[in-house]
Amino acid sequence: MTIEFTKQQQQLSLTIKGNIESFDDESLKLSLLEAVQKHKFQTVSVNAEGLEKWDSTLVVVLYELEKECRRKKISVTYQNIPTNLSRLIELAFMVDRKPSKSQEDSLPFLEAVGNFGISLWQSINKGLDFISDSLSSIGRWFTAKAIMRKVDFLFALQDCSYKAVGIVSLVSFMVGLILAFVGAVQLKTFGAQVYVASLVAIGMTRIMGAIMVGIIMAGRTGASYAATIGTMQVNEEVDALKTMGIPVTDFLVLPRIMALTLAIPFLVILADFMGILGGGFVGVLMLDIPYQEYYRYTKDALDMTNFLVGLFHGLVFGVVISLCGCYFGVNCGRNADSVGKATTQAVVTAIVWMIVMTGIITLIFEVLGI
């Protein structure tokens, strides 16, 4: 295979022979283009007599050559060139549109800070609007005006209740177990390892049970809400709802908030029980505390206030997780990438807000002496 060129006074002649497939000779292309740029040719003549096989790599050479010639207003003539090859070069120049993307320049510092502030304010507003829409939906539900399908609620409830029992039980059991181990190491130095039972019972019922359920449900159900609604957004199902005049919060958000808020307290009760069981496993089998003793200390440590505080945390977490999942789903972009981002944001934001809410609730209960 050969591509050769010769320079005459006002003409550059290019001859192409043999098989020109997978042609990747960068130096030849560069010297060819350089020749066109440096010399004042009037014509470039391309002769393809003897060309046998060719592919896109030859088209690239001729396309780049003709582009340069057009820029320098040099005429190009083709001889013995296969018809389909010349058609292809023609086709490459038949552009019907030019891009109109403006280059984004880097902004001055103050403008960037200002833009950040504005976008932060806008996202806070958007979030508050969403919460207010969701509250309106709940209000409409109480007055039986919300357009919500019972079956959606039941499906959501099924998904976030008994289907989550296995994972919640396992994780809570392990957390109780770890709590007992960690506590025992410290309490042993005071010879007070029997208080492991109290530590686990109070710890699990007051906060740990709720937090563990919250984290599991944020990763499991919150992510699923964002992904499901996000995919509906990509498939224009959310648009269809809007154009039918059905409030998105009624149809998609309300059943999910109700289902998760209803299911989480039961899961918290389960988590409390499994955590205490995990603690008991360590206490009785590994720390040699008699099981009657462990049971008595656990029973003494349990009180209704701690238990209800845990349930209250669970309720709040249910609302936070479902709101975050649905918010990021509804505000998802229209491509596959956006669904992934929405899912991640839903989980991360839900966990952050759960921690923030725990802090606020703890502070309020501290002030109230609960």
Binding site: D24, T57, V95, R97, K98, P99
Partner: protein
Amino acid sequence: MMKTQTQISVRGLTVAYGDFVLFNKIDFDINKGDVFIIMGASGCGKSSLLRVLTGLVPAASGKVVIDGVDFTSASEQERNLLMQKCGILYQGGALFSSMTLAENIAMPLKQYTNYSDKLISELVSLKLSLVGLTGFEDFYPSEISGGMKKRAGLARALALDPEIVYFDEPSAGLDPISSKMLDDLILDINQSLGTTIVVVTHELASIFAIGNNSIFLDGNTKNILGRGDPKELLKNPPNEEIYKFLTRGAEKKNA
């Protein structure tokens, strides 16, 4: 007269999802350089047939032979080699949303060739120019229109100079002008590169504008009801169904 050479040969092909049979033992040939239309009413299984032809769905029984190699029973390696000869344009373009158009088109080139980065970038520019998208290299799919996405998808399908290009409903969702432009482009690609084109569609305008061979699939009989040049099928319809389909539901006048 030019000798025709069979490029894709389908023999006794049965397509089924579980117990539900879409087609039962169908046969047809696609010649090299054809613009072959797979047509039929909505839901008759045209896209499923395309998925079998491209290896996305296994055939229940029968053979798809591409260039003499049985695609249905080929090993993974043989299939990959055969698929390098094929380009596919999906309904929505199926561009990867996290990549620019240039990155989308460069992907098969990086996967299957040892070309330098410079040559790949030149090839990407050429392919984009061929589909009328010069200068759109740095755009993301979300920044361009539906018609442009299809053309960019076509540029990606053409990246490896395929011998066969499959199109799944190329005109779907396009305005008449964009649809005509895409039809012209398909013909240009077919004539310039000699590429065999297989198009799944029910758009009559496109069928008559580009097709020179076709099959008509029928969901009720689960078989092929007619075959040949769509314009000939319109002139001499072999049955009522094909006549109705090609005339948008007109009743056939008795001779």
